[in-house]
Amino acid sequence: MQHTSTDRDGVTVLAFSGRMDATTVAAFDEAWRARLEAGANRLVIDMGGIEYISSAGLRGILGLLKACKSGGVGLAFCGIGEMVGEVFRISGFTGMLSIHPTADAAVAALA
């Protein structure tokens, strides 16, 4: 799994690509933890390049949700593909997340 981090209007946009599974979720966790430790207080997770997610990936997402909730960090998601959307729906994650069609919309939602 790979990621890029960009700053847009004070919002940190973390864009991920690849597979989010038991062997790669640690890289996801490291990426968002590093941004929060660097002081990011508004975060967009762009999953447009994620083609696959398992329950190990969901564990990473839930860890991020809990950290943002307890730290008062604004969090929004975008780029949810078919497979990821299905797994989110089955797991009841859709209702816990602020999901937007594009990174622009997600950034605007946190402005």
Partner: protein, 138 residues
């Protein structure tokens, strides 16, 4: 049935995915993400818990089958650990809980149950045998 035997180790997931991709019949590629997901969920459990403190192995098999005349893609996963039926022993998660109340983990078996039409568990020849039956895409 085509089978692949792997050491019980997380690094084997890539090899398992390659094997599954090679077994999915042409025209059924839409099944691949669900089958890979089910295999990962089962194997991560096996690799993590089936062989505490000792090396072990797992076997993955794929085949096309007909049940009552209806075709299915079948994924079979086998391990030689202590008897464990994930379908009856894994607690049903509450997927309506909010962020604060959600326990971390416990969603793997729920995902599998949601994606397959039938599933079976049996213990025989000193092994746990799980079979998952995926309905073919329309």
């Amino acid at each position: 049935m085509a089978t692949l035997s792997v050491p019980a180790s997380l690094e084997q997931l890539g090899a398992v995915n390659e094997f599954i991709a090679g077994q999915i019949p042409e025209g059924l590629a839409a099944l691949l993400p669900q089958v890979e997901l089910a295999a990962e969920e089962l194997l991560v459990n096996v690799f993590s818990y089936a062989y505490p403190g000792e090396p072990g192995k797992a076997e993955v098999g794929c085949r096309m089958v007909r049940l009552d005349g209806v075709p299915f893609f079948c994924l079979a996963v086998r391990d030689w650990g202590a008897p464990f039926d994930p379908f009856s022993e894994a607690p049903e998660p509450d997927t309506a809980l909010g962020v604060a109340d959600r326990p971390i983990g416990g969603l793997g078996v729920h995902l599998i149950k949601s994606m397959v039409r039938h599933y079976s568990y049996s213990y025989h020849d000193a092994s746990n045998c799980i079979e998952l039956y995926f309905a073919l895409p329309e």
